[in-house]
Symmetry: C2
Subunit: 190 residues, 2 copies
DNA sequence: CGTTAACATGAAGAATGGTTCCGTTTGACG
DNA sequence: CGTCAAACGGAACCATTCTTCATGTTAACG
């Protein structure tokens, strides 16, 4: 019994796009604590409209987090098709991902394991895990990455990374490039 | 012109102790977002009493943070008097400190660079920096630690560590021991 | 066009949690 | 003891921020 439903109105879809874009910008700038009212203002709509498209603020965060993980997956998958030494492919991937994450406060928080984002495993997360596993297997087969390293280690390292990058943005004297340099070195075979 | 002031009442000092102990326990268990009312209840006093001794919640956090840094400084200073290989002295210190921090949610947050704690440099922080520098110089002189490593790197690593440990406690699949293992490896000379 | 369901709005509601305030109690001192 | 300033208690206050809802608007379709 499929209930006959009118198609979504054109202005509604447009507004949804505007909300997503505004939220993306607001979160990138102020982190996940950016206020719904601010997002609505940026989008040029009322708060009610935000809530029409996303039942809660948390769902909005989840949606953007899923999008972010999709981007990371794309970065990792791209490396799979590139030529180069196994270690370089892996390291370059981490580096590209980190650079993208560090430029966005909310993304840092999401990588840091913020509750709103960590909940459901998005397809992007699965793809990311898959691609990273392949990259790491390659490096391990070449004997340049410690044998006991797993994707879980990468998650752990990137969790710490997200927070370091966020702290750096917040003004603490800190350096995420240096953090990565040391962590990546710790993953190499001696 | 020193204003004649009555000495602090005995019950007031006792209550202060109780507040500090209660706050310590509440923060260790629930993190810095533990509520003032909960702290007061644990201490067996009213919220007003908490505010008599600490003008704001943030000051209370700062006081406990300073205490924590004092403990870390003691750990590092103790290692200075112990016999052993330079690298082991350094690594053992990090390990001891990390173990202490990981057992306390608020401590993890403080290490992670929580605003309330990062503000003023407490004497404990200075002592900690001093002792760590000595330990690191020893390891570098022995040629077992990368020459470019600085105390600032340790701060960065421990910032990430605090967050990883907190995330692990919050239920994320993560492993701070593994994190440390990799980071310490990254600090060694190849 | 007219009708209607979908959509938009933003002020009001609800929940949270730090801080204040004043009536009451209590320790210290003469 | 009697006095008094210090200390206490905790309900009330206030600020913040997510969420709802009653009212007004608009795109889609016949």
């Amino acid at each position: 019994m499929s209930i006959a439903r009118r198609p979504q109105r054109a202005d509604a879809r447009r507004n949804r796009e505007k909300v997503v874009a505004a939220a993306s910008a607001a979160f990138a700038e102020s982190g996940l604590e950016a206020q719904v009212e601010d997002i609505a203002r940026r989008a040029g709509v009322g708060v009610g409209t935000v809530y029409r498209h996303f039942p809660t603020k948390e769902k909005l965060v989840e949606a953007l987090a899923a999008e972010h993980f999709g981007k990371l997956a794309a970065i990792a998958e791209a490396a799979l098709d590139e030529p180069g030494e196994p270690w370089d492919l892996f390291a370059t991937t981490i580096w590209r991902a980190a650079t993208a994450v560090a430029a966005d406060v909310a993304w840092c928080e999401i990588m840091g394991g913020h509750p709103s984002a960590a909940r459901a495993a998005s397809p992007g997360q699965l793809r990311l895990t898959q691609a990273m596993t392949t990259l790491m297997n390659g490096a391990q087969a070449a004997g340049v990455m410690r044998e006991d390293a797993t994707v879980s280690d990468i998650r752990t390292i990137m969790c710490g990374f997200g927070h370091v990058a966020a702290a750096q943005r917040a003004g603490n004297e800190m350096n995420w490039e240096r953090y990565l340099e040391i962590a990546l070195d710790g993953l190499r075979t001696r």
